[in-house]
Amino acid sequence: MKFKQALSIALSLVFSIAALSGCSGGSAPAVDSQASTSSNAPESSAPPNDAPSGSARSISVAALEAGYGVEMWGKVVEAFTAETGIEVELTTDKFIEDVIGPAMQGGEFPDVIQVSTGREKGLTEQFIKSNQIADINDILDMTVPGESVKVSEKIAAGFTDTKLTNPYSDGKTYLAPLFYSPCGLFYNAGLFEEKGWEAPKTWDEMWELGDKAKAEGIYLFTYPTTGYFDAFLYALMYSAGGPEFFNEATTYSEGVWDTPEAQICFDIIAKLAEYTNPITPAQANDTDFTQNQQLILDNKALFMPNGTWIIGEMAEAPRADGFQWGMTALPAVSEGGDSYSYTWFDQAWIPSGAENKEDAKQFIAFLYSDKASEIFAASGAIQPIKNIAEKLEGDNKLFYSIYENGAKAAMGNFAAYNATAGLGTVREVFLDPVNGLVSGNITTEQWLNDIKAASDLMRANLK
């Protein structure tokens, strides 16, 4: 009897310990199961955090698996370790926010995060809003590892003094501009050649073309999701009112949405909504957006706003005979006006909660080295580095020359504001309603009134 009791107590103890031990162990295994975590460290090496300082330095890097693929990250990390001896634990995923999010809520941050603004999860925006991004201004004065030049001498002019890299207008850089891409309207250049059409120079020509295409059963416009309107709206604001209007609008100046320039923007978007392929909103979600992109490949719509990553993203998709990618800047508002192409760039940053900030800065500095940019460029990821244009090949050569062919570069974004209950995000307020415009569920007036109300609140909560 006694033996049995003792045995049962011992067993239940073992079970409870086993059950509880499942709770410990931290977040690392959970990350492994979902994401491809690759470490270039030798297989037998100890976990990075346990390594005694000095002997084996290591950092953790979390990068988004974007249209460029992940292969380039593995190679760059390898090159970095070879150069500096700092080991890197790399985590990449298409939904990187979900992979690193839980650990970050528990207070464990990767040392370098490469996730850009404008994603649905708004991770970067959240970090900007809550002042959790480390100041990396001193990277600009650092020497690129393995080279003798400073980082600031490599980055092309203008990229480190935008509202996106310096969100707090204190003159300091917080986010490193990583890959850039001119955004514009993408179309089937083959079809245009066949029909004898030309990419429109003004919006009036655009509407004319829209009518011509309609006669042939082709809609003028489509968009992957409403998120792609950010670059579109920015460029449109520039072409409607130049940099002054853009700056006023993106800092939510009082009455800015009552100006004639704003009216021009909304009129164009409202009219464009009429010319949009009506099935677009039904597919403008994260599951089906490639179907909208397919509309261009199938000659069912003429233009869509996008970035140069589209070539790689749709590389495997079937397409109409004679299909050839073309890209044009946004048409000018009137004859002789300026046409603009928005320069989108990805960002890399260091969370202020990161443990190895100095090594992380080394890593970001290394991203601008010749070795790294060669690896990135091979995957189509072009960095804002001086003289990069000379290294471009194929389609990219054409796309990146857009600014040499008369289009002006539009840069910047909506200013950061403190998160406020009841106030939507920039995307919810400015971009998402486009779906409703196309399907006719809201009117331009309703949309405009919502924007005005939200814009007043955003101004009141400006950072």
């Binding site: 409870s16 708004g122 809550s130």
Partner: protein, 291 residues
Amino acid sequence: MRNNTSFRLFLILCIAPAAILFTIFMAIPTFNVFRMSLYERGAYTPDELFVGLGNFEVLFGDVKFISSMQNTILLIVFVTIFTFFFALIFAAILTREKIRGQNFFRVVFYIPNILSVVVIAGIFSAVYRPENGMLNSTLSMLSGQTVQILWKDQPMVIVSIIIAMVWQAIGYYMVMYMASMSAVPESIYESAGIDGASRTTQFFSITIPLIWANIRTTLTFFIISTINMAFMFVKAMVAKGMADVGLSFMYNQKDAGLYGYSMAAGVVIFVFSFLLSAAVNLVTKRDILEM
């Protein structure tokens, strides 16, 4: 006496793992939801600011929250009605009638239940495709003209979600009802048949009352799970803001950097589902019939 103490110790040790796990993973987080709803904070910051009931005040005036709760209620009502209707009918047919390949149908109906919601979203993305999607193509064939219904756009989007959710849930509940229906003795049906009761009368007067206890339990289950499933379906199937439900509103607020506000929405949804299941339990109360 000694025996008694060691037995007690044994009991405590047996309960301890469950109790500890429950406290760590259920009680503390639930308490935290309530606590955080009174604060304003970002998802990743440790700094928080006490705002009292301010979050709730804004919440009840937030048009988006109200419309997302309306969507939630709409989904609960319609998905529940359709799922239970079809699950009961199919279960009755498969248990009472002699049909070839009963087991085959049983498996076929159950399959959606083991698919993940993301897979279902992928399947329905092909079904709902505006051009050459399965549904529109079928409708075009039947009507003889090109039908192009935008299933994932307003106003059909909520119907599309209802269809997908019903499709997913039927099998599981059907299997449950089949189990309890087969426990009803054949002799009752035989004597009812001799008395001249039709199959429909038998279904409503014998089958339903005798499995009522089962229906009642599953109903409460189902309503609570619908609140969760609705979120997953909406998240995986349609664009943000197209047909938001209560939990997706909550999730979006978190992404906007409003963790406290999102928790306030969580508290309201918690209370809502709690009250709803209590109400359902109350109105479905009947005297249990013994066979």
